[in-house]
Symmetry: D2
């Protein structure tokens, strides 16, 4: 921790700060600058509590932590990339994994038709919402259990793994029974009660970045899950909220590169929510491969104009197929660079 005192802090105030730091078990290094005193606290202790306490003291301008607030998810803790394995796919490994499907599971025909089509195009995981977080209480809230059963049918029919959202602690067990990967939606990224429950669960978790969450907060939420026992977390950039209204969200594509520097966890990108507009999805999908994401989460619907939700950002089946073909040469380069990187670390 580095504590900057105010320019005119008294000798007594400085002494009290040093005393407090020592109470928390740290060593004190006090430096007299031209304008003010700066104090460094070195050692191991309860950083957050100590910082909170120092920031509240008279004479203190601010107090900042230097060390990262997360541990299990950091590259310092574990150097090799985490590979999350599900039936038929490994996220974070040597393959670029595409997860695709409708926003909501609507009926058997819709989900089976979509599953077969995206499987044929090369997707490895089927997405589909059974529990839907909707801004309005009057909007369709999902088929719930019935939706989960339809997803299971689609898995049987195609061999695709299933990813679907869980919105409530109460549903964790039920959803875990049907899903291969359990998704935490952007609005629940800091629903800590849910994160703790998922930490005690064995299923891989797809954790979406909250729409106004920092990269550090995303990692802290992943740390909640891992610290409670579940190391299989996939991170997902899906656009953040900014002043720009031309797109539904602003895709922070650089976050993928930042996360690749900070964590060993796999990172995928959702170009559908990031843009909100079907015509922009393929360009962003190409960029996601190039920037070094581990995969994509894409909304696809056999008939977007009849979709119950997110039709405007859902690709038609044909367009999904042609996009997958467009991605091929990029994925080829992606694979080569993964192999090169792997060889370099041997």
């Amino acid at each position: 921790m580095i504590i900057s005192m105010r320019p005119h802090a008294t000798r007594e105030e400085i002494e009290q700060v040093c005393e407090r730091i020592r109470e928390y078990g740290y060593k004190v290094h006090s430096i007299q600058g031209e304008e003010r005193v700066v104090i460094a606290a070195v050692g191991v202790g309860d950083v957050t509590a100590c910082l909170e306490s120092l920031e509240a003291m008279t004479g203190v301008e601010n107090a900042v932590r230097i060390s990262a607030p997360y541990k299990f998810v950091s590259k310092e803790f574990k150097k090799e990339r985490t590979r999350v394995r599900v039936d038929g796919a490994e996220i974070g490994g040597d393959e670029f994994v595409v997860m695709a499907g409708p926003c909501s599971v609507e009926n058997e025909k819709q989900i089976i038709e979509t599953a077969e089509s995206v499987a044929a195009a090369g997707a490895k995981v089927l997405r589909g919402g059974a529990f839907k977080p909707r801004t309005s209480p009057y909007d369709f809230q999902g088929l719930e259990l019935e939706g989960l059963k339809l997803l299971a049918k689609a898995r049987e029919a195609t061999g695709l793994a299933i990813v679907t959202e869980v919105m409530s602690e109460r549903d964790v067990e039920t959803v875990a029974e049907y899903a291969d990967i359990m998704q935490v939606g952007a609005r629940n990224m800091q629903n800590f009660a849910l994160l703790k429950t998922l930490g005690k669960c064995r299923r891989p978790i797809l954790l979406k970045r909250g729409m106004s969450s920092t990269i550090k907060e995303l990692l802290m939420s992943a740390e909640y899950i891992t610290a409670h026992g579940n190391p299989n977390v996939i991170l997902c950039e899906r656009g953040i909220r900014t002043f720009e209204t031309a797109t539904r969200n602003t895709c922070d594509i650089t976050a993928v590169a930042v996360l690749n520097e900070l964590t060993h966890l796999p990172v995928i990108l959702d170009p559908s929510h990031a843009t909100g507009k079907r015509s922009l999805v393929p360009a962003l999908a190409r960029a996601a491969v190039a920037v070094g994401a581990d995969g994509l989460l894409v909304e696809v619907h056999p008939c977007p104009e009849k979709a119950i939700s997110d039709g405007a950002q859902s690709l038609r089946l044909e367009r999904f197929h042609s996009m997958m073909r467009e991605l091929e040469p990029y994925i080829q380069i992606w694979k080569e660079s993964r192999l090169t990187a792997a060889a370099a670390t041997v």
Copy 2:
């Protein structure tokens, strides 16, 4: 709904859009502009579903709803202000209500001392966290049940009503047993599972605005609670997330005035989280009275530098007392204008 077609939309595309609108039970008014066709849909139907469908159709540039998406919380639905009553206070009525207390309940001495002091200064409700949403899994998570019991003791000792946060559906019953008002924190504003559960509960709810939620989304979350049966919702502006880093959040004080135009629900302001800095709290509290809020939610601690959380933004007891005195003349004007307004509507 107003649907703008793309400039070169074909006759067929336009016809399909009109057809779809009629399928949803609306009447169609098509207007040929200089550049494009614009279509108005009039009537009653499932607006969201219809919009989603239209936005996904070829030839459509965008589709926007004209009517407000909420009902129970709107002034159109209910003209007179909602007054939320708890023991010893009425929020939304003729008194400006101050809720004050520590961020976390830490121990009996701390909470009782604070309760007695804020009561003496004129606060009517005691705030204090027993379940704490923390960014880090390693930070203090609250005294939980023990904290609730201490709050109950403080109520007995002072007669203050209690407001405390509930973070999980599972805890709703327990918290409802001890609290007079149940708080939904900013991070849970769109935890829809929690909102539904609270809608079935009888306790008044203090709903904090999410840090990147729009005013409309705040109202939609309040609509979740009211639509599920609980009309006693207090809204709280507590600062939103922006690029500015001089303060912890950016207080959107105008939101209070906007909400007063749109809804009959009471609106209070939290100057502690909005600023993150003790020295800025009194100025913002004065502004809150002047702008027309119904009350304040303020963090106060007998010894902020020993607080487990939020010490930097907590007022000392003496400063809270002097702030309450500073607020007096403002509250006097506030009361007169409420009476004038009430008289005008008779």
Copy 3:
């Protein structure tokens, strides 16, 4: 400066950083933490250049300055409040100063009628745009010189001082001839060529905060003007750009309180641009008085629905009069607290 090295920085990298710091004339204090080395640089030198250099070095995680980057505008430099005097008004002194008038000067009748009305209601300064910054090249760009002459006529007729925007270095001399206060618009807050020219000018400057500028950047732009010779700067909060769309901008009212802590310069608030909506202006104006601003900048028009620009946020003359009456009791409290504060510093 505090320089945090990366966790695995080599001994050589650390030595090079220390060497570089010394080259810039600072003393080095190196602290060995649990995880990494942190280096403090103490002394006087070219901070920015040194920081830039250090941040680019291998092994450096980040480098932050501790001292404030501004000097002339800070309270450390000058304790007593700056009072900016113009004919008939003093901003930053013992009076709360209201500046009011139309967005654009449109014609003689409009500006004289408005001037007379706002003067009668208690305004001390007339605002009115002659050079208009417009997002579109096809929109009305202002009456330019003709507008300045009409403003001068209005001053003669009413005795009000004049504030008007200057958009270009080329116009500085001309505008200075007619205006009592020269306004720098939000879009030009970091037009450094303009700021330098205004620094060499004797007229007081009204510097509006850029819509995505931090408080620190606002102070740095004020520092440009003062460092180039002109100490008479009035700062103006006018709302920042955020994700919220219910209002034209988001008024960062706390910025007024923050600025009052950091600088001796007067700070006023523009509730018209901050809200974009006439009905919200009076509530925000009351809050501005309460929070401790030195004055207001308000858009007023005799017939807003015929205004060439900003009609939706312009008050009608009658409403401006009634708002001024509503503000009276607040201004009364404001004056008393100024006198108390002044007495306290004697």
Copy 4:
């Protein structure tokens, strides 16, 4: 234009709105909805003025324009892509153009060494600042004329075209004498006086997006330049300002795809300012090629740790060379897709 009346707007208010619309030369289509009246205005007229007027009228909830506010820059106006030609490069054509060089021109050795190196690696344009917009008046403001002369020398030595910033109307002529492309910095994107002057100039303009400007505002600023006579505008996405602090700015990469849908002007991306961190530049550069940008603007320095400005985000020469090699396969795919697209439009 679509005008939504308030739910309880009176018959008289509606009639006045219709009347006003007709005064501006539009035809009126009034639609009676369930909740309110909506009015469509069709025709050709002064949209902005009419909208401003309507929004200020009693009974009006809001008024929105349907047609795009720009003309010359839109694809509706001109279908084929604009190709901006300078010596040795064509931006917007069949080649992906890399512009590279230091943030500031510092001395002859630095600029010549960099120019030779980036030319050898495949860059076609040399960037380098002679006039520097700096947040602080105390920071290095550029070598000015001397810097321009050094850039000219570097052009002679290498054949590279030159892009450099112009900050003031007064410098336009001088800069135009030396530069092949004149850059408008992010802070000046809405310096309309400067834009108008550049519109009368013959040199191509590189227009950087303001850090809180929308895509529409960027296009409007380009419209200023083209409407004043200069059609050679290159747009540049360089990151916007958001709440995220892990990177200097947030790169809105989707903006490239959006602009490719809306305008015929070339669009390049600046991964250096977008990230602020050297290690993130190559990943973002790859993404820029993949998303469909026309080129890159990259900061490169022979010795970043001795750079006067932006050292932390400047690539070393060797890293720039290796990045250019990494980009090759992506640029290969880029070229093929350009050719395919060109063939498809024949």
